[in-house]
Symmetry: C2
Subunit: 401 residues, 2 copies
């Protein structure tokens, strides 16, 4: 018998499953109303248009779109991304952009580029598990920073920076999802964004700004969503994606980084996969050029806004008095804190039996807190199912408390 454990690298020995994905893969069947999966609704996919576009890409551009392509990605699509970034208020250029296989690959490449074993990455409490796993796989030490209704709490951020400094630890980056955060649904207040960028200079760290939900806002307060990259592009590596506004199965996203770092990311990506799908990038490029993303955004925003509304209404109606929840102004998620004595992980099997599923909050906390919290995604169920599901969940919370 071969002893495979003995063969593994340190990274290989410390791999952790993504608890959230493990869980959501068990769901979505049968009678269960699921608030678990953090995915866009397939009802927002433009199937008719993509049928046409996919066929056209093979027929008219197949000799290139089916061949090997540049590591950075399709230059047509990169040009579109540059305009998108500029519309978001961020100075951009083709030299700053790398197309990736979803933002997950961007998180992985950036983590590998920056982190040595033991280097500190500050992350939000709670934070997106895909981000913390990428940092963990680069052997980073993860330190959590508290959030409130306005996102990262600056006093706690300063405390953590000073504590790390005092302990002689190198803080390389802060990982943040400033808009409609996954999992909490809160957004980072504008004045805090400016201060965080100043702290990055003062404490010499980089900001990983993960912004997949930028376009999925439910009100028009654009200034509030100002990317940190717009405030100081030199200190920010910015990630965004076509997954939520077109289709995640095409796995097309981008990283914008200071060009010196983008060039390094390109080299790392060359060794990681040569390039992402050339074909999918050609499809996305054509879809963007034909206005398929831009023109459908109002419909997509309305689609999720109605569902957010349904969830908030049902919660107001049914939630037990000791429960609290966030009021997201965009994105897919709402965060709920329930009675202290309730362990959301332990309650889940009963919930599923009762016909409703959610994600327990604890795996999103790098300090293992949050046992009495849960993430509710309103992105995939109908408004009617959301109302029914929340009623089921709240009835359960009432009896559990």
């Amino acid at each position: 018998m071969t002893d495979y454990d003995e063969m593994l690298s340190t990274v290989g020995r410390h791999l952790r499953p993504n608890e959230i994905r493990k869980l959501t893969s068990l769901l979505g069947r049968g009678e269960v109303i699921s608030f678990a999966a953090g995915a866009p609704s397939a009802e927002t996919f433009p199937l008719a248009e993509l049928t046409e576009i996919a066929a056209r890409v093979v027929r008219e551009h197949g000799k290139f779109a089916l061949q090997y392509g540049p590591t950075k990605g399709s230059s047509t699509l990169i040009d579109s991304v540059v305009s998108t970034m500029q519309k978001r208020g961020v100075h951009s250029s083709a030299a700053a952009i790398i197309l990736t296989t979803g933002s997950q690959q961007g998180l992985d490449l950036v983590s590998r580029l920056l982190m040595n074993a033991g280097d500190v990455a500050l992350v939000e409490l709670p934070s997106y598990v895909g981000g913390t796993i990428a940092l963990h796989n680069a052997q980073a030490r993860l330190i959590g920073v508290r959030q409130d209704q306005g996102g990262l709490v600056l006093a706690d951020l300063r405390d953590k920076l000073e504590a790390a400094q005092a302990a002689g630890q190198r803080v390389k980056c802060l990982y943040t999802i400033p808009n409609f955060q996954n999992p909490s649904g809160v957004s980072l207040a504008l004045e805090r964004r400016a201060e965080i960028v100043r702290l990055a200079e003062a404490f010499d760290f980089l900001i990983l700004e993960d912004d997949p939900y930028f376009e999925l806002y439910f009100d028009e307060d654009r200034a509030q969503r100002t990317p940190l990259a717009a405030l100081n592009p030199e200190r920010v590596i910015y990630l965004s994606s076509f997954s939520k506004v077109l289709a995640p199965g095409l796995r097309t996203a981008w990283v914008q980084a200071p060009p010196a770092l983008a060039a390094k990311l390109e080299l790392l990506k060359e060794g990681a996969d040569l390039s992402s799908s050339v074909f999918d990038q050609a499809i996305v490029a054509l879809a963007v050029r034909e206005g398929l993303v831009e023109n459908r955004l109002p419909m997509i925003r309305e689609f999720y806004r109605v569902r957010r509304e349904a969830m908030l209404t049902a919660l107001e109606q049914h939630a037990p008095p000791n429960a609290r929840w966030t009021k997201p102004t965009g994105g897919f998620f709402l965060w709920m804190e329930v009675a202290k004595e309730i362990d959301a992980k332990k309650l889940l099997p009963t919930a599923i039996e009762s016909g409703v599923a959610y994600v327990p909050g604890q795996p999103f906390f790098v300090d293992d807190s949050g046992a009495n919290t849960l993430r509710l995604a309103y992105s995939k169920e109908t408004p009617e199912a959301i109302a029914t599901g929340i009623a089921r969940l709240c009835s359960l919370l009432h009896s559990a408390a």
Copy 2:
């Protein structure tokens, strides 16, 4: 000014460009006959059929094929890969297979899974640069093993294993491309395969068997191509791909590993990109099911056989007396050794001016030898262009010697 170098990890500071890709990206334009790019010919892509299949996948399966999918990849395609592996004589199961973004991602994931900084990976002299870069990015120490017309020289392999052992170095793996090797075009002799698998047991290392060209043989001697994974699946991580037999732009490949390691690779891939393109996998799955790969293999083999023939014939006719070259029995590449005083890297600009391009051999050698060698790909030019290009090259070699 931000000092980005100071921000980088050890991996980030030691990234190396893929010399081959740097070079080939400059070529392929104008009047130059290029033997540089190691890519399949776009003439082998089934454009009409894929137009139909891509449209069908969106229209009929879009709600799944455009959504997030499992990290391991499409279960339909995994089932097909399991039969493919069994046809190649390798015991297989779904638990052993992970679909990847090209074999490059497989090489990267496996390298990260196994290698700690300083662990030894033995590689062929010369070897595929994508493989050595993936190992390098995992901070492996690369040690070269000589090849002759029968592939890896066993005496040299034993010497290197014993030397590493004596030096207290941990040899974690041997990276080999046993069939129609990129870049040399040689195949590993059958009796050597059996002995290498025995050495893996004796010296406790794993074999990374990179086999993208398995189906692209020009003669029928099937036993000769027996995968090392067929001889001892417990010691072999096997990689193969749809890039050369369908289309590389779909970036769909697979790793077969002992299930205990496949489960670890899946966890690592989850952090690396969540999954490869779900859409492309659905296309490849349907293409395979409709026989589009299988049925077109005889045509594809003949396509490359004719080009190999054209190159060999032209070399016999024009090559200078001191030149030697391999006679590949499959794949895309032929390897040439020219007069000792010729530096193929220095000669390249003159060659391009004369209207012919190749890849200098040195970047393929981890010991920096091979200045007077070059790789000639016959995969992308017509037989007529091959004849003209070889005549140009040989005339240049005559005057340079």
